[in-house]
Structure formats: C-alpha cells, structure tokens
Symmetry: C2
Subunit: 323 residues, 2 copies
Amino acid sequence: MTAADVARSLGISRATVGFVLNNTRGQTISEGTRQRVFAEAERLGYRPHSAAQALARGRSKIILLALPDWPVEHTLGQHIAEASRVLEEAGYSLVTYTLHESETVRPLWEVLDPDVVMGLLPFSERDLTSMRASGISAIIPDPSSEPASWETGPSIIAGPELQVQHLAGLGHRRVAFAAPDDARLARIIEARFAVVKDCAAKLGLTAPGHRYISLHDSSAQLALKEWLAAGITGVVAYNDETAAAVVAAAIRENVAVPGDLAVVGHDDNPWAELFVPSLSSIRFDIEGLGRQIAMNALAAVDGRVTPAEDPTPIATLVRREST
Amino acid sequence: MTAADVARSLGISRATVGFVLNNTRGQTISEGTRQRVFAEAERLGYRPHSAAQALARGRSKIILLALPDWPVEHTLGQHIAEASRVLEEAGYSLVTYTLHESETVRPLWEVLDPDVVMGLLPFSERDLTSMRASGISAIIPDPSSEPASWETGPSIIAGPELQVQHLAGLGHRRVAFAAPDDARLARIIEARFAVVKDCAAKLGLTAPGHRYISLHDSSAQLALKEWLAAGITGVVAYNDETAAAVVAAAIRENVAVPGDLAVVGHDDNPWAELFVPSLSSIRFDIEGLGRQIAMNALAAVDGRVTPAEDPTPIATLVRREST
DNA sequence: GCAACCAGTTCCCAAGGGGGT
DNA sequence: CACCCCCTTGGGAACTGGTTG
C-alpha cells in the first residue's frame, strides 16, 4: 500500500497525500481533504516506505547506538528502553549494535545510514574513518571536542566516588582497587582508578596501585594476601564480578568479610544480592541516563553541541553484608 | 559519492557502473571497463546508498533478530557475533533488537523493512499482525507451522535433560524444579518443566510440581523447607540466578550444599564459578547456535522452510561444588 | 546505453473563489 | 458591473540513487 494507492483511491494527487501525511508547513490543505486522506490511508493500511523516505529527504531518522564488545551491565538494557521511548517521541528510531573488534563484519552504519552514531566510549580511529567515508557527520562522543571529557563524566566518576566515600565513612584508612583482567576495559579501568586515587587522597586515605583479578585463576588469592600484608581493609571493585571474586577468595582463605576485609561492587547486578555475604554495590539511575542518551542524540541531529551532562546524582550506594 | 559521479568521471553511463559493481549476470562488460570502474569507485570513495538499493530492488538485505525483554543470558552475545559473521558472507546484515512489551515504541521492523524477522520465541499475535501489515513475509519461528515445535528444539530441552541426568547419576531420587517468578518467562518455564518431568520419569525419579523463586523475598526459604520435608535432595534450576537464590537460602538455613541438597543451574554465567559453593551449570555451544540462527535466516530469505535443528549436542554440564 | 521504475518529497505554478476598487 | 488582485487549494514534475528490461 503506497501513497500513490491512497491518492488514486481518492482521485487526488500523490503530492497532496504527502502534504497531508507529513503536515507540510507552507502548504495549506482543506480540512475536508485532510480528513479523507487520513481515513483512506487508515482504511488501506498505508505504511510509509522508510527506504523511500530516507532516499527522498536525506535523513534516515535512525540513531545508532554502538555498545561495547564486553559484557554489558544489566542496567544498560533499561537505559536503552528509556532512550528509545524519548527518541520515538521525536520521530527517531534507536537501533543498538554490538561493536566487535574482529571487524570482519561490515559496520552497521554503512548499512543503515543513521543520522547519528553514538557510543558509550570514544570510537577508534578506524571506526571514525569508516563513518566519515559513509557520510556520517554526527558522532557522539564528538571526536573533534577534547578527547578526555568522557573520563570526567558522571557515569564514570559517580560510582567510584561513592565507593570510596562509603569505605571512608566506615572507618577504613587503606583501600585497594580491583579490576577485571580484560584488555578491552583498560581505558575505563584507568579512568575509574584515577577517580579512586583522587577521591582517596581528598579524604586522607591511602590507595596503592590497582590489581587485576582474573575470574578463572588464583589471582584473587594472590591479591588478597598482598592486600592483607599491606594493611588494606577495604576494596573498591570495578564491578560486581570482581567483587565476588575477591569475596570468594576471602571466604576460602578464612578471611572475614566484612570484618577483616570490606568489599564494594559496582552496577548492582541482580545476583549481587544473592551472594553470601550479599554484595554492597553501586546502583545507577537508569531512567536518567537513558533520557540523557536520547537528549544527546537529538542535540546532535540538529548539529547542536552535546549538552553538558546533567549534574544531578545518578548513582546511589546500596549497602549490604560485604561492607 | 554516487554511482552517477563515478559514471560521469569515466564518461560512461550509470547503468554500466551498476553492472560492474553488482557483477550483474547476463551482462557482459569488457575487462578494461570493469577495471576502470573499480578503480574509479575506489578512488572517489564510492559507497552504495543502501536506502536507494533497498528501494530499487524490493529487498533491504537486513535481517532483524528480536531478543526477548528479559535479561539475556550472557552467552547470547556470542551467538550473535557468529550469526552476524555467517550472514555477512551471504550479503546480509544482522540487526538485533530488544522487544519491549510496553509497545509505546514503533517496532523496528516497520522502520528497517527487514527481509526476515527472527525471534527466539514465537511472536505475539499483535506483533505478527503488525509485521504482516508492514509486508514482512519471512518470520521465524514460522507462525504457519505447528506452533509447538520450538518447545521441543534442542535449545529448550538439552539443558534440562542434562540437569536431570546429572542429578540421577549422582544418586538423587527425588528432584524439584525451581524457576524465577517472572511472567514473561512463563512459556519457556513450562516447556522446560515438562522436559524435567519427562526425563525424570524415564529415569525412575520423582519430580513434583515446580516452585517459583523470587530473588527479593523469602520464597527461596519457603521452598527450601518444603523440599526438605518432602525428601527432595536435588534441585534443577531454571537459570543460575535461581540456583544462587536456592543455594543462598540453604547456606543461611545451615543446610549443607551439596550434602543435604544439590543444586544445578543453567547458562553457566561467568559469576556461577565465583559463588561459594561454586555452581554447577549448563554451558551451551555458542558457535553452533549462532550458525544455526544464520542458516535459518538464509533459508527463510529464499522462501525455503526452516531446516530441522542440528541434532548434534549443543550443551554440556559443568560440574562444580554445588552438586 | 537509454529509459522506466522503485516510493516519497518538495519546488513552483495553475485554477478557482472571494473581496475590494 | 467589470476588473483586478490575492489567497486558498491542489497538481505537475523534477529529484533522491540505484536497478534492470
């Protein structure tokens, strides 16, 4: 069912149908005609052909959100739902996409021709080149702006700050940072660790270098011994999995949690509550973040600059048995 | 950079450029011209405009994979990567999409006009209506075939079978099935429970009705008492989270795991290994499933019927401390 | 290689009616 | 009463980029 079918059925021109359906400004169509067009389109089950629309006006009304290759925190799904809803109201569709580094697959921005490509982290130079070759102009984070700004955004720093403040409030004076042993996370781990060190210094705590914890070997055990020897009593974990690995090592070594060592996770995965002892963690305000993503995208469509991140608190600490 | 630019730059027609670039059969273009077209396209950085292609030939070369609303098992990401790779070779792009029941958002198939829409579970009647209205003809699972076939596919039954066989092999005679309290999972839970009952009966085990376990209240505690009273010594869990909830309740009630109660999870999430005691679970052959998804999609494009699922084993049991 | 075609969008102009001089 | 102008309403046709008889 095309617009031409609707026009023919009413004995009017395709142009008129288009004017009505798009509510074209600068064109005035009589109310009677308008109603008849709407009714007939409805009756025939007309659907705009999105490829044709994308071709005719130069924009696809698609926004592509590239997700990182690494395991997505469970909360992310919720942001995305909220972001979709906001973008939908503005007439855009949000498509998500997992970016694989293998790169044997043609990137989706070449296929979908989106108006905006967004990522949670800065894109690689290769990806940027590819996007520019495909004619994508709106990219978030904006590669032309100062490259380090994402590292100071609330979504990076809010969690670590709360973690350190929490441990400090409980009286811990020496804390360590534990992160997963995953090269893909290196940049974000560095950024988070910088926040931990910074915040610890402000509060008068000691925070030695960070340790990588693999989930599959004895690295947690080793780290544990080292920490205890160094007088560390609190551990800030990059995520709940790392926290779990540390707590598990402690239990197996008969180290009391939180008595001898307090551990706080990040992301508040559903299973963090199930662990024994249950894990303290950082929970994010998912709706707020979703809306933020959507707003950034809409700003980019209009060529406006990405607005500053909302300074309202987006993370809270959930205290459980592990601290 | 359009094909017309390439043609103009070489002083030939757009048609010829198209013939070369598409390797059109039934058209013979001289080798010299072919090479010059390729070189010029490369030099100018020509990219086919996918919306225009989709419009001209009736197909978008997009395959949409709808993921369920509930938390995706972590393994799924890997299937998808594999499926993308296979489809890419056949010239298709895979777009994934999380189906939200809220439905305030326009479904993506109306926007992308995909050649195939696939789902891991059958679609709702409303979704099917919407797809047909958008002119989507290829839908998997095929709603015109017998609706229950997915419930007997390996991806549903392989796990529960292994779980029951494992417990039976360890000498357990009475087993229970525990599932999350989530209405969205009702159908798949029923299907899995049917397999458990069936398999238990074959092996001479007793398997009473299943229990729903919420992660946030005392339902695990209650279920635990009931099971112990009924002489149950083994629990088949729908997923690792439910298994964790049961094990956590047991620890808090001083019930020995696996001494008094053995628990086996499903999906082998990364954190299952970290739990104390670590959780036995079911691991899937992710590459195989991904390839399967891709093959089904390609079959559907050609209007062929979905091939039978590959009967080779796709799941294995990982034994850990909880059994 | 020419030309038609895919489905919409949009610039520009042609009827036609109403009101004013 | 004739004439003109303007505004409303709607149509013609070119255009988007690529495919194909």
